[in-house]
């Protein structure tokens, strides 16, 4: 059975806790943290289909966290969810590799659908890397 796994990162504990409850009720495997540093540690410990990341956070903000996460896990599907994102933030995040930017409050069904798409995209990338590796091995053997 496929279960989408998602990491939610937002410094508003009540917000992230409630969003997690709602996503779990929709069958997702959800973990949450309230800062970028912990998010980086969580992503090291477990493979997530998607990370839903807030922009304005104490310490490492969303953009800084996104940079580190993508450096460590280039295939990670990161969705920005912010209450204060400017057009400039959205453009920067997308350029850096975020798959989408949502403004709070967002429709949960839309967000869950995006996470499902993120899982499909991550699996496709994983498959592509596996095929590339097979190609590389075959080429190196002269097959």
């Amino acid at each position: 059975m496929k279960i989408e796994s998602v990491l939610l990162v937002d410094d508003e504990v009540e917000f992230v806790k409630t969003l997690a409850e709602r996503m779990r009720a929709r069958g997702l495997d959800v973990e949450y943290t309230t800062n970028g540093k912990d998010a980086i540690e969580c992503a090291k410990a477990k493979t997530f289909d998607a990370v839903v990341l807030d922009l304005a956070m104490p310490g490492m903000n969303g953009i800084e966290t996104l940079k580190v996460l993508l450096k460590d896990h280039p295939d990670l599907q990161i969705i920005l969810l912010s209450g204060q994102a400017t057009v400039g933030d959205a453009v920067e995040a997308t350029k850096l590799g975020a798959v989408d930017v949502f403004e709070k409050p967002t429709d949960i069904e839309t967000l869950v659908e995006k996470i499902r798409e993120a899982r499909a995209a991550r699996l496709a990338l994983e498959q592509k890397h596996a095929l590339d590796e097979i190609d590389r091995i075959m080429s190196s053997k002269g097959w």
Partner: protein, 230 residues
């Protein structure tokens, strides 16, 4: 004060006003976003009932209590912003020192949180009624806190308190870390002196002096009003 200094101070005051309002509007947005998610959670629970699950009344009541808590948080933000905005109504007003500083502490909570600094209130129970410019006083306190936040490095704790006496009060902003001594600090200190000039106050202790983590300034109880002693 020269015209250029006066204009500079006005620009700085407008920037201060903008910083506060922008920060609090973000806080209010956070509150509304939480309420939106909690309302969504309630709907989820009610929809579950439509699908045959029994009504989980305790769960619904728990979510309602969480909504009420956020409503209360939103009310506090609005009341504080309103008080702050009205503090700019008159150049001289009669106001409570403790209330004015408590308001600044509330408004500075967000920048402190984003800077990962703990803001500690050490305000004594006693207060005095000032006849002065409340907006200038609040800006002066915020300027000191802002300076301390920007200097925070290791311990990351800033405390605010005051001591009454000598027909006025000494307001102290104490950083657990040393205050930076750079161009930004010089600019902030210059602004602080401009502001204090407007309320008849003066800097008692600044960066680079004995206790390098402490900013102290003094304000008289009466300045610019009818009760001012010449």
């Amino acid at each position: 004060m020269s015209d250029s200094k006066s204009l500079q101070t006005r620009d700085e005051s407008l920037a201060f006003f903008g910083t506060i309002i922008a920060g609090q509007s973000h806080e209010l947005t956070n509150v509304l976003n939480i309420i939106s998610e909690l309302a969504g959670l309630q709907l989820d629970l009610l929809r579950a009932e439509d699908q045959g699950s029994p009504v989980n009344l305790p769960r619904l009541q728990e979510v309602a209590a969480r909504i009420q808590k956020q409503v209360h948080r939103g009310e506090t933000i609005i009341r504080t912003i309103n008080g702050f905005a009205h503090s700019a109504d008159l150049p001289v007003a009669v106001f409570d020192l403790k209330e004015a500083i408590e308001r600044v502490l509330f408004l500075a909570e967000r920048p402190a949180r984003l800077a990962r600094v703990e803001l500690v209130s050490g305000l004594p129970p006693e207060s005095i009624v000032l006849e002065s410019n409340p907006f200038c006083l609040q800006q002066a306190v915020f300027t000191c806190i802002d300076l301390a936040l920007q200097s925070a490095s290791d311990i990351r704790q800033v405390a605010v308190d005051y001591v009454l006496g000598g027909d006025g009060a000494e307001i102290r902003v104490t950083s657990a870390d040393h205050l930076a001594q750079d161009e930004n600090t010089d600019d902030r200190m210059e602004l602080l002196r401009f502001l204090l000039e407007r309320i008849g106050g003066s800097v008692v202790k600044g960066p680079g002096e004995e206790s390098s983590g402490i900013l102290v300034f003094r304000v008289p109880q009466h300045h610019g009003g009818e009760s001012e002693v010449p």
